[in-house]
């Protein structure tokens, strides 16, 4: 350790972010070279975005909670509950789309409020609280309606089928017709939220508070930050984003079912971790999370297009990737501790 300035060159946060981005590009380019065909088309990439817009939104919420040192595993359950409630509202009660959006936001806010209160003000472990939240949401989904069904509400179907054309990325298909490249509305929402949240976390006071609380609760308290309120806010935001994510998911699938978004919490946590958010809190980046989601879904696409499309391979690869990144994080943390000791 020659000078303190030099070791500042790459912080842990940046190192993790760089690893993620490199891994993503390496994987995608590798897929382009070795599997070709589909991966060369821009639309394949856009389809990854289309399918994972909801995951991007929920992962952002998850990252914020994880930056403050907590965790929220109820997001998948909340997303399922949101899509079921909206589906029931639209189809059985002739509701309008605007009302459905309000329902989605309301459910998300309610979960965020209750969980945030329990975690921040009563000091209960976030994992237990959100585990209960997850089971409650899943159970409620079944209670609201048992059978899965497709939504036939006209206004909603029109919204669901709205395509946003991406200029310049279209390709000429086999019969010589020009096909536009498109994304769904959900992707626009997701990317907008990513930008907003990135700015909030980077440049606003509440955003910086999240990092301070996650990094060291005691010193954050000493600095005069309201630790409890910050934690509460993080969970509230996560709940709200889970609600929005649920609605985007609902727009993508267009149906209500108790088994919707199963494993989404797991994917959201995995994406955040792969995106360089530290489980111990204080380190994380929304852009990293975006790349985490992309890496995760790219590897799933590679696995399925490589012919290993039996359901179990997806689970195993995701778990293996998560395991790898967890171990990398742990090694980095230990290295940091050692550096401190040497100093």
């Amino acid at each position: 350790m020659k000078s303190p300035k030099k070791s500042k060159g790459i912080t842990n946060s940046n190192l993790l972010l760089i690893i993620t981005i490199v891994v993503f590009f390496a994987m995608y380019i590798g897929a382009m070279i070795f599997q070709g065909k589909g991966f060369l088309k821009p639309q394949t990439f856009l389809n990854i975005l289309n399918a994972n817009a909801a995951l991007i939104i929920t992962s952002c919420g998850m990252s914020i909670v994880m930056i403050t040192g907590g965790i929220d595993i109820s997001v998948g359950g909340v997303a399922a509950l949101v899509s079921m409630c909206c589906a029931v509202y639209l189809d059985f009660h002739d509701g309008n789309v605007f009302g459905a959006v309000l329902i989605a936001l309301g459910i998300g806010l309610a979960f965020g409020l209750v969980q945030g209160f329990l975690v921040a003000y009563l000091g209960i472990q976030p994992f237990i609280v959100s585990l209960a939240g997850m089971f409650f949401a899943r159970g409620m989904t079944t209670i609201v309606n048992t059978n899965p069904f497709n939504v036939a509400n006209e206004a909603f179907v029109a919204l669901k089928n709205t395509r946003v054309v991406v200029p310049g990325l279209g390709v000429v298909n086999k019969i010589g017709k020009y096909v536009d490249a498109y994304v769904e509305i959900g992707v626009v929402v997701a990317l907008l939220l990513v930008v907003i949240l990135f700015c909030v976390l980077r440049w606003t006071k509440p955003g910086r508070n999240f990092y301070a609380v996650g990094g060291n609760q005691q010193s954050a308290l000493m600095l005069g930050i309201n630790v409890k309120r910050t934690k509460f806010l993080a969970h509230l935001l996560c709940g709200l984003l889970a609600g929005i994510g649920g609605f985007v998911y609902f727009m993508h699938v267009g149906s209500g079912s108790a088994s919707h978004a199963s494993g989404m919490e797991m994917n959201a946590i995995a994406s955040s971790i792969i995106g360089g958010t530290m489980l111990t809190g204080g380190v994380g980046n929304i852009i990293g999370t975006l790349f985490g989601v992309l890496s995760l879904s790219t590897i799933q696409n590679i696995v399925s297009s490589a012919g290993l499309d039996q359901a179990w391979w997806t689970g195993i690869t995701v778990a293996a990737m998560l395991c790898l990144f967890l171990v990398i994080q742990s090694v980095i943390m230990n290295r940091k501790k050692k550096i401190k000791r040497i100093k």
């Binding site: 237990i128 409650f136 946590i269 998560l322 967890l326």
Partner: protein, 366 residues
Amino acid sequence: MENKAVKNTGKSRDWGKLFGKQIFIPIAALLLLAIFNLVTDPSFYKITLGFNSAGNPVLSGYLVTILDYGSELAILAIGMTLVTAASGGQDISVGATIAIAGSVILRILCGTNSRPDTLQAPIIVAFLVACVAAMLCGAFNGILVAYFKIQPMVATLILFTAGRSIAAWINNNELPIISDPTFSYFGGFIPGIPIPMPFFIAVACMIVIALVLKFTNLRLYIQSVGINESSARLNGLNPAFIKFLTFVILGLCVAVAGLIKVSRLSSINYSVIAKDIEMDAILAVALGGNALSGGKFNMTASILGAYVIQFLTTTLYKFNVQSDALSAYKAVVVIALVVFSAPIVREKMSALGKKIKGQSHAKGVA
């Protein structure tokens, strides 16, 4: 609550003392459930002696069901209590690991054929291999938690995702069915004994763990690691190894529970077997009054907690609650429990309790 207070003062025992005892929580919950069932439908407690399809005498009734199906949970609660106490976190991969253990058992018993007429290997061999497999899973979790210092719940999330996939992969996604009747004894009834076999297996596990806790230093070591890791290390313990050990013990418990689970069906359904059981196991530990953040533990309370959970589940089933909707009710119970046991709430409660006590004392004097 008021009734109990009256009863206790009648016994001239200090209310606060009993209230503060750990085992009070599961007993109170059990009494509450028991009274609720007694009021709504006394036939809940009816036990009848009948004959099953094989012509053996069996007891049937809701209470027997509770003893029967609560057994796996009680076995899991043993391991989960140790893990919770040592590492201050919970293992959420137990359900998935049960699927792996069960899949291994069936794979060995069936060999390459998925519908064998005879067993391809002795049951004990299959069980031992499953034990090794489940303990390896436990060791994997343990290494991540103890040596890589990853939060237990996140480390076990890996197996939670991959476990059922691995289980399906072990059997090539086939659904083996075992026709040999001896295999179904472990999850059913042994001819001539009307009490379900899982209960005996659970009792055996309880005896083993009781002996281990009584004659070894395991309890002391686990508690000291859970209470303060650094001071345990300064006192010459190896906290990482103790944590690792608790995860391996949980693996063993999971293998036993897995044997019972697959024996019940003589088959396996990878996505459904032992679904949500991790929630129940954690709930059992919490209901036993054990701190979920580690430290001291009370094994008896946890085991009792497991049976109370099963009591709750059976009661809910009796009221025609769908199995998918069960989790919503249980989640409410969990939240009520953790809120009740949160330090801040406890402080307020005890302050309130003192106030009431002071008033009643003053009244008594007057």
